[in-house]
Symmetry: C2
Subunit: 147 residues, 2 copies
């Protein structure tokens, strides 16, 4: 069993929860993909692997995975929640193209430091933060100009 799975098992044990077949199956799947996903689309995927799995179970497991810290919720400007692994990839934020929907990830330590400073200045015990930038990506901008 790899480290990430162990981490989830520990989380489960610490909370008197069990590692069930469904939970393991979902964990395996999200570890195998490494991009943004939402609970409904994860349900459809899991359903195709095991038609007996229920929607509620998938939604519940996504919550558990978020509580465990293995995934984090992102919004991407939509009404539903998206999620991404917090492990296997550095912490980053997102640029969202309002024209084509493309998501560009970026890492900016200056930005992260500023956020920590702001929290400190306000005596705020920071837990998480969300930074999202919306606009028009380079490709979309170019193709608009060409018209």
């Amino acid at each position: 069993m790899n480290d990430i799975k162990k981490q989830f098992c520990n989380f489960l044990k610490n909370n008197n929860l069990l590692l069930t077949a469904q939970r393991e199956c979902i964990l395996n799947y999200i570890l195998s993909t490494s991009y943004h996903f939402d609970a409904e689309q994860l349900y459809v995927q899991m359903k195709s692997e095991d038609p007996s799995i229920g929607r509620a179970t998938v939604f519940r497991t996504v919550k558990l995975l978020e509580s465990s810290g293995l995934i984090r919720k992102i919004r991407l400007g939509k009404s539903k929640s998206y999620y991404e692994l917090t492990v296997k990839k550095k912490h980053h934020e997102h640029l969202v193209c309002q024209n084509c929907g493309k998501i560009i990830e970026f890492i900016d330590s200056g930005l992260e430091e500023r956020i920590i400073k702001i929290a400190k200045k306000n005596n705020f015990k920071i837990n998480k933060h969300a930074v999202e930038i919306f606009g028009i990506c380079e490709d979309c901008f170019k193709s608009t100009k060409n018209k």
Copy 2:
């Protein structure tokens, strides 16, 4: 008619829309308050002033006001959308206490500059951005420690 109202009227004219009694009434109300609100709570308020107003009209008008740039959408970590005036107050971001729900507004020009730089570096034509910091406020943290 004040400047802000004129701005909304221009927006309406430019889009072949009319300034109706309902729209004016809603505009007046949000100009008179200067804090975060959501569409449903605005509807309840407007209903109390004019019981004949419909929910759909309020939700539609909130959208119009957002398109016009007079208000902007913020999330505050909830599933519903909140809004706030973009005029009469400097652009700011939010700290959200996950314990008591308190919202702390802050202005940080360094943060704003970084965001603009990041967009530029990615050749991204920035339109808007969202920065929200979640955690525990000073008061909540103190009262936790005292236990």
